[in-house]
Every structure is written in C-alpha cells, then in structure tokens.
Symmetry: D2
C-alpha cells in the first residue's frame, strides 16, 4: 500500500450533496445497435457521473474507467442499464448518469442513380439510473431547407441551405435511431446524400424547390409525427438553418410532453 | 412593394406553438457594465428568440436584427429589459428571449510584483421577458486546482492543472460579474494571472500546494458562498478540471434554489 | 530576489535552435484601423513567438505579456512593427513573430431598402520581424454561392449555400481589409447581409440565380483580381462551400506569387 | 440522360490552374494498421483533392465519394497509394491529395498496478500522388509537463499541466504511429494514462516532479530522437502546454529536414 489515508472517503461536514461528479470527455471505441447490420463500430466521447452524498468528501475517479473497460468489446448501447448499475455499485452511489456522443453511419441510395454511399449522423444518448432507469436518445439530422418566402417573392430561384435538425426523445419503449432520422428527413425540403450523380442532383434540386419549408415548418412537421408516438414520453425538436443569404442562423425549437 | 403575399403572416392550422424561434449566432460589438471603469467594449455572439403562437405560420426574422441595430452604441447589458420589450413589440410576441456570450476583461495585479495585466473571462447572459423579466448571468472562471490525494500520497509534488469553474445565477437583484469571479477565485487552489514574474510564480506555486482542492471541494466551497445570497434565486456551479495526468477531465456540478 | 538561479538563461548543449517559442491563444481587446471611422474596438486572440538560439535553454514567457501590455489602448495593427521590435529587444531575439485573429465589423446597406446593419468578418494578421518586417493579412468572407450545374440541369431552382472565401495576402504596400472584402464579394453569386427586408430578399435571391458560380469559379475570379496588384507579393485564395445538398463541403484553393 | 451539357467539362479561358479542388470534411468509418492487433476500426474525417488544369472549368465532385466508397471495408491507410492513384484516374488529374484525421486507441498499462486501459491519440495522415507518392504522418500526444523554473524557485510543489505534443514526419520508409508516440512520451515529464489507481498516481506525481521540462526542453528532446532517423525526410515538433497558472498556453516548435 502506498498510503493509509483515503482522502476521498473521509467525512465531509459542508452538508452539500453534489448532483453529478465524475469524468468527462473520455473517448472510447464502442459498438452500437444497427437496424440493418445488427451492430456497427464507432468512436464515442463519454461522460460518466454519480451523485455524491453530502457526507463523503470525494468520489473515486478511476473506478469509472474501470467499469467502462469491463464493457469494452460489448454493445455498450444495448447494455446501458447494466453499465449504469455497475457504476452505481462500484461508486456506492444512489444515482449514476452517462452521456455518449458518436457518429453513426447509414448507407443511403441516391434517389435516381441508386448508387449507395455512407452518411454520418451525430447521435447522443443520455441515460440515468436512479431508482429507475431512464433513457433519452438524440440525433442531429442534416437536411436541405428551402425558403418559402424567397421562392414566393422572387421571379426565379429561392435561397436554400444546409440545416441541422436535432431531435431528442425520452423513451418508454425501444426506438431505432433510423426511425427518427427517416421521420426528420420526410419533413425536410429535401434529404441529404453523400453521393449524387447529375440525375440525382436534378432530382434533389427540383424536390427542394417543390417543398419549401420555413424553419418553423420543419419543427412543426416533426412535432406532428412525434406527438402521437406512445413510445415517447418527452421530446424536443430544434432546427438550425445555416442561411445562405446571412452569416447568422435561423432557429426554431419545440419541446413537448406526450400524453399517456 | 415586391409582393403582396406575406407567407409568414398566413394562418397555420397545425395547432403547434413554437417555444422559441428567431436568429442564432449573430456577432455584434457591444458595451457592457464594468465595475472599475463604468463600461467596456467587447464582442458578443447573440441569439434572439420569441414564442410563436400556433396560429401564425412564421416570424419576421429581419426584425430581430432591426431591434438589435437600435441598441448599437448603447450599453446593451444595462438595457436588456428595454431590448426584450422592443423585440416583443416588433414581433408581436408574448415572450422574448436573448442570450449573449462575450469575453470580459479585468485588470489583475500579480500577487507579489503587482504588475498589472488583463485576463479574459467568458461571460454569458440569458434574459427572458414573458409576463415578467428574468435574468440569468454566468461566467467561466479559469483557476488552478491541485489534487489533495496526489499531494497526500506522494513524497513530493502534486498534480495540478487549469480548471474552468462555471457559475450561473438567476438573480432578483443586481450582482457584478466581478463579485462572482472573486468569489470563485477565493475557492480555488490558486487564482490565475496573465503575467507572473519569478517572485509571483513562486507565490502561486506554493499557494496552490498549500490549498489542495478536489473538483468536489471547489463546487462545494462556491456553493457555500452562493447559498446565502438573497439576491440569487437559483444557481448552478460546475468545475471541469483538465487533469494533467489524464486526457479526460474531472467534473462536478451542484444546482440549487435559494430559500427566500 | 526570490531565487538566484535563472534556469531559462542557462546554457543549452543540445545544439538545437527553436524556430518559434512563446505564448499562444492570449485574448486581448485591441484597436484596429477602420477605413470608414478611422479605428474600431474589437477582441483578438494572439500568439507571440521568438526564435530561440541553440545556446539558450529557455525564453522568458512573462515578457511577451509585458510588451503586449505596453500596447494596450494603442492601435496594435498600425503599430505591429514597433510591437515586434520591442518583443525582439525584450526577449533578446533575432526574430519575432505574432499572429492575431479578430472579428471586424463593417456597416453594410441592404441592396434595395438600404437599411444599414453590421456584418462580422473574421480577420487574421501574421507579422514577422527578422532582418526585415513582413506582413500577411487575411480575411474570411462569407458569401452566397449558387451551383451552375444544378441550375443548368434542373427545370427550376438551383442549390445554393453559404460559403467562406479565405484570402491571405503578403503585402509590400498598405491594403485595406475592406478592399479585399469588396473584391471577394464581387466574385460571389451574391454577397451576404445581416438584415434583409422582403424587397432585399427578392433581390439577393434573383442575383444569386443570375450569377451561378462553382467553387472553382470563385477562386479563379478572386485570383484574376489579385494577380495584377503590385502591392501584393504572395497570395492564396480558398473557398469552402457548405453544400446544401451534402453534409461535406466543396473546396478549392489557389496559391500564387505575383511578378514584380 | 437528364441533360446534355456538362458544364464542369467545358473549356475555361481564365488560364488559372487550381492547386487543389475537391471535397472536405467527409466523415467515414475506416480501418487502420495497428502494431499490436494488426488492424483497428475508427472514424475519420477526410479531405480529398486534385489539381485542376487551367483549361477545365470544373471537377466532378461525386467521383471523389465514389472512389472512397470502393475502399470501404479495406485498410485505407495501407492502401493510400492505390486510393490516390484511383482518384487521379477517376478525375483525370495529374495530382491527387488526401488528408485524414482520426482517433487511434492504444491499450496502456498503469505504471504500478498494471491495470490496462485505452488512450485515444489524435492522428493525421497527409498523402499526395503527383509524379511520386509522398506520405506525411502526424500524431498529437497528450503528456504531463512540469515547469523546471517553478520547481527551482518554490519551497515545495511545482506547476504542471496537460500538454499536447504534435509530431509530423514526412517519411521515406514505414514507421509505426506507436513508435512516434513512445518516443514523445519518453521526452515528457511523465506520460498520461486513462486509468490510475492510488499507487500509480503516486508514481506519476513523483516521476513528473523528478523530470521537470520546459516547453523548449520537450521539443528539443523529441528533435534529438527524430534527427537521426533515416526513415524520416522532414519533421516538425510542436508542444503546446495548457499552463495551470495562466489561461493562455506556452508553445514551442522546431522544423527540420534530415540529412541523407
């Protein structure tokens, strides 16, 4: 033993419980569920926290990494409840929290040529295990938005741009990332692809022109599709449009709790 | 007139109120209150939003910038309630929101040589005007943290690092950014300076060694100083330590509502 | 005196000259030249370096900040040669270097309504003083680009997006940031504004549609305007288009040395 | 065929060759060489460019993604020359370029407890194929640096911090990323681990205290180890120290061409 005194375990008299304490911005290779090919390898950035009761001076930071190491080579997303339960035990805590951020790749086929290519979607998972387990999943979906006002008032053309739609759902039942992505893409002026040949480019240009959407329209259309989903307890929808005619962004947000 | 149809003002039948809609990431030169020299010029990044009732299809994005332009050369921080009131009127909205992020400079004197230099503190203000006006102010304070465990178990030395302490306070009464900064710095292993001569470097090295603080200690000490401040309705304290012995960070967070 | 030994000044036997050593990412309020209103206040992030000859073990980092402090409240851009000369003297170095990055604000008038608003341009200056003084100035100019191919192949519409054109010029003679910005904006499908009313939005939509530009066209048009400017010794032009139909970017770059 | 006119292939009369044109910031899952386990899966961000001769108006952006798609599931790093050769052919270009940035994970054992954990190293590869193939590999290595001056002048303690050492080598012969990492870590005050138990924390604290290094020392020590390596044609070494006593960073850089 290097030392007898364990400062972290000593008593604390300040009577202040710490809501969350732990490690932040750990990068780690993970395996996640994939609707098409069962699982996929990616790289995540993680935070792992516990609640620290007022009587303890400190937490044992190395144990978070030890627990994470136990889940190396496992499908971490599928095992999140086990992971958090083990964090609670290892840290002797009543509540454990984790959040993960990672790119997730989906093979898409160009709309006319049907040539396949991969597109990255930035996903995030936020899970907590207090008395019960709770899971929130999120995804940033890049889309094309085309301005209805610009189309309406102009003799030709319409400004359009890349937008990022962020959907976050707290769920009571399983839901695929792919479902959220498809739902969002169906509300866009047009969806985005990594690879477009000339015939595809004609298609997406005309499709966007035929489907003008304000930032307000996008979040409302997504809301309409989420508000009746019984698997979802709470959700938020944001759209940020990187306006081609400005250097600031247009933004809209709706947050809603679904009725049981 | 370029066109008769105002799409944004048309009726919307989807029955979805949008919580926040507007412009994001506008950069703008602003003037802010300064306890020492009355005011200081800096550069902010702003978001400005309103609530959009379900019956309206869109908001008029250009009006946000028009209102902002009216406050150019004014002390925007001092006039935030007026600014939001004008946003509400211009957009015919029941609720308006803004958030600003900007660096704020304070002249500090080195602890022994007393040579002055400027240090940047990243500040943020979040204000809303629904029926009432509400203001939250925040600041990221860079400090030195030195690990008590590392000091205790080692025959010499102790790992230390730069940390960022983030304090966010929702206030009922005026409070200076400088007050929050001083309060945080008094809870650190040592405060940070831009310019340190050799005598100063000896002082800060020894002071940090004499004041070891876990990430948990830092947020608890700051909490002790904020929890009895009658001007503060709600606050959060976070500390993120950029560990010199790891490439991930240690983190702790406390959120608390003050009793009236 | 706190200590007799000055480790930085001790001899080094490794025979390795250090190209650049100093301080990085200092934030500082600065004053810069402004063609319209003589000067403007902004906030910069600076790096300041010197060459360190092989015989010296270390440089004295605090002196960089001391010299910077001497130039507080001065027009740092106008005094860059003096600043670097003082760095050389303070550090007893043969070569000194600095780079500054800052937002610069220009009042623009909307094309039809003529309503004024401010637009931020991210600028950077890189200066060195070895035997001679050398200055490179750069600016990131946000513009609208509209794809000629998309316009050509589609029955209506054309994809367009925000692009950032970065111009960097090493100069022998004075040149205004404003000149570079105007030159770049004249090569775009359309320039960008912070505030556009409906009549302006019609104008910029139609103008962009009438001026389709590939990323290649943009850098070539800018190159044509820079290659005969006798004040410019060397330049580079980059354009990065944040494609509205992809989530990756289109990019082109030209670097050129002007003939004397 | 959607359209007869191929604008990109049309003649250009501006007589300006474009140094690099192509796609930027594509994210893609890749497989890379791993000294221990032969290969590892990770996620890269890529740029792919070609030179565009003055006579051609545009390049065909979709072909870059098509070529990348051909190398999906292959070890892209091992096949970089083939990849660039195929880019040249697909784009009918004389020169092709790519750069990749990705996290690379190495299992390290804590110095005393020997508990294994993974550490992420950010790597980058820059390859070009003009007449000949050329490869530059780079890695950002996080380390602990402890200030010799602070140790010398203080009665106890010494400020230390996380530093990032960036090494970039243009090579004539194969070199493992792992070799560069080990070489850099041997020049640090102490190397960094993801998981340290108490006995390990005592070890790294004391080791760093026993090995104080200025930012200048770090780049010189790395330079000494790289300058006699016959596999390396050109290299640069940078160290950026995130000073625990400042909020700016200390920085040093050496660039050198090795003798044949």
């Amino acid at each position: 033993m290097t030392n007898e005194i364990d400062l972290q375990s000593s008593n604390d008299t300040r009577k202040i419980t710490i809501d969350k304490v732990g490690v932040k911005n750990i990068r780690y290779p993970i395996i996640v569920d994939d609707r098409t090919s069962k699982s996929q390898s990616t790289v995540a950035e993680l935070d792992i926290f516990v609640e620290l009761l007022h009587k303890h001076r400190g937490t044992h930071m190395s144990r978070f990494i030890e627990v994470l190491t136990h889940f190396h080579k496992e499908n971490l997303i599928a095992k999140l409840p086990d992971f958090l339960m083990e964090v609670k035990q290892a840290l002797q805590a009543d509540s454990a929290y984790t959040s993960l951020r990672f790119p997730y790749f989906i093979e898409k086929h160009a709309p006319i040529s049907e040539i396949p290519s991969l597109l990255a979607y930035d996903c995030f998972f936020e899970a907590s295990y207090q008395e019960d387990y709770s899971l929130t999943i999120g995804v940033h979906v890049p889309i094309t938005s085309l301005c209805p006002c610009s189309k309406e008032i102009s003799d030709y053309g319409a400004h359009n741009q890349r937008s990022i739609v962020t959907v976050k759902v707290t769920i009571d039942d399983f839901i695929w990332i792919e479902e959220i992505i498809e739902l969002v893409e169906s509300c866009a002026s047009c969806e985005i692809y990594s690879l477009l040949k000339r015939s595809d480019e004609k298609y997406v240009t005309e499709k966007a022109f035929n489907n003008p959407r304000f930032v307000e329209d996008i979040v409302r259309e997504v809301t309409l599709r989420l508000k009746d989903d019984k698997r979802i307890r709470f959700f938020s929808v944001e759209s940020e449009n990187f306006e081609s005619i400005h250097s600031h962004n247009a933004y809209a947000c709706v947050k809603m709790r679904n009725k049981k």
